[in-house]
Symmetry: C2
């Protein structure tokens, strides 16, 4: 059996990150404690405190794990359908009984903690970059003006979902997701979402 | 001097609501306590507890005060310019050193408390209704299809501002506000924001 340097350390980190996600999913941000993550992960409490420092440190590290997860981008040949795929993925993610509460806990944590806000900011920067590929392809197909702002098209497509979930506290349906995607696609085609 | 029935009670309520807003502005949701509102308003703590119950009750009542505030709607003769006026008002409101922290505290409170979420939901329902007049006028002018969903146009215009402020934690400029308004106007004109 091979012994890799850092193998044990990497396993400890993975156990703590998985335990953080599981605790967030079950108890939300306000229920997350270093103690509960230590118990769930089987890693000693003093180790968790030494390496992660606090609940905010745990969240930042768990978000890094989430950021590394592959986010499959649709490639339907139409901007509108690609955006529909992306926004429906966001909507169904929040509706999911396991993933939904975890994502909700991340947003709540960032509203309350500057550290978590910085982690979430980096997470979304990466997500916008990834998703902007569907806008780039639409530009290449001649569907959109060349100076269309890809990240901004993505923001406009997903923003109404987050607005309903975290600001107005209204329900979100699949039809709402489609309408938001269609609106972003129409605005991009009209040439009003350009790089400033 | 006239003595109106309920005059004292109304003055007490007003003092408590004003104190709640001032405390939210200075210390945010996590710093709001029944005690600090009692001290600031000059109303006895037991009275505040009896009539408002808790921090959530104070927030719900302060939101009702905010909901009653006049929200002047632009009437420029163009949907795009009307929407720009509305979204710039939202953006500049959050940038305001006095009003900004209060609005931020309301959103944070609603992320953490179901009672505050219900109050904020009602607040935004009223705001969407008020603002939808600019969409109705655009329909009457023949700028938009008759079955355009007014509240949804407003949601789409303002959502990117809230998304940056409370989800991705990105800065928001006046140009971002204009671009969001222009996108919602273009999508409405394209006929993709209809009543479902």
């Amino acid at each position: 059996m091979e012994r890799r340097p850092g193998g044990r350390s990497a396993r400890v980190r993975d156990a703590v990150r998985q335990a953080t996600l599981a605790e967030l999913g079950e108890h939300g941000y306000s229920g997350l404690t270093v103690e509960s993550v230590a118990i769930r992960s089987g890693v000693h409490k003093t180790t968790v405190y030494r390496r992660w420092g606090s609940v905010e440190g745990l969240i930042a590290d768990a978000l890094e794990l989430a950021r590394e997860e592959p986010w499959p981008m649709p490639d339907t040949g139409s901007l509108q359908d690609d955006l529909r795929g992306i926004v429906r993925l966001v909507q169904s993610g929040f509706a999911d009984p396991v993933a939904g509460p975890i994502s909700t806990a991340f947003v709540a944590a960032a509203v309350l903690s500057g550290d978590a806000a910085r982690s979430l900011h980096d997470f979304f920067t990466a997500r916008h970059e990834q998703a902007a590929v569907v806008v780039r392809r639409a530009v290449e197909r001649g569907e959109l003006p060349p100076d269309t702002d890809g990240a901004e098209v993505i923001r406009m497509a997903v923003a109404p979902i987050y607005y309903r979930l975290f600001v107005t506290h209204e329900p979100v349906t699949e039809r709402d997701a489609e309408r938001a995607a269609d609106a972003a696609a129409a605005a991009a085609r009209a040439g009003v979402i350009r790089v400033v």
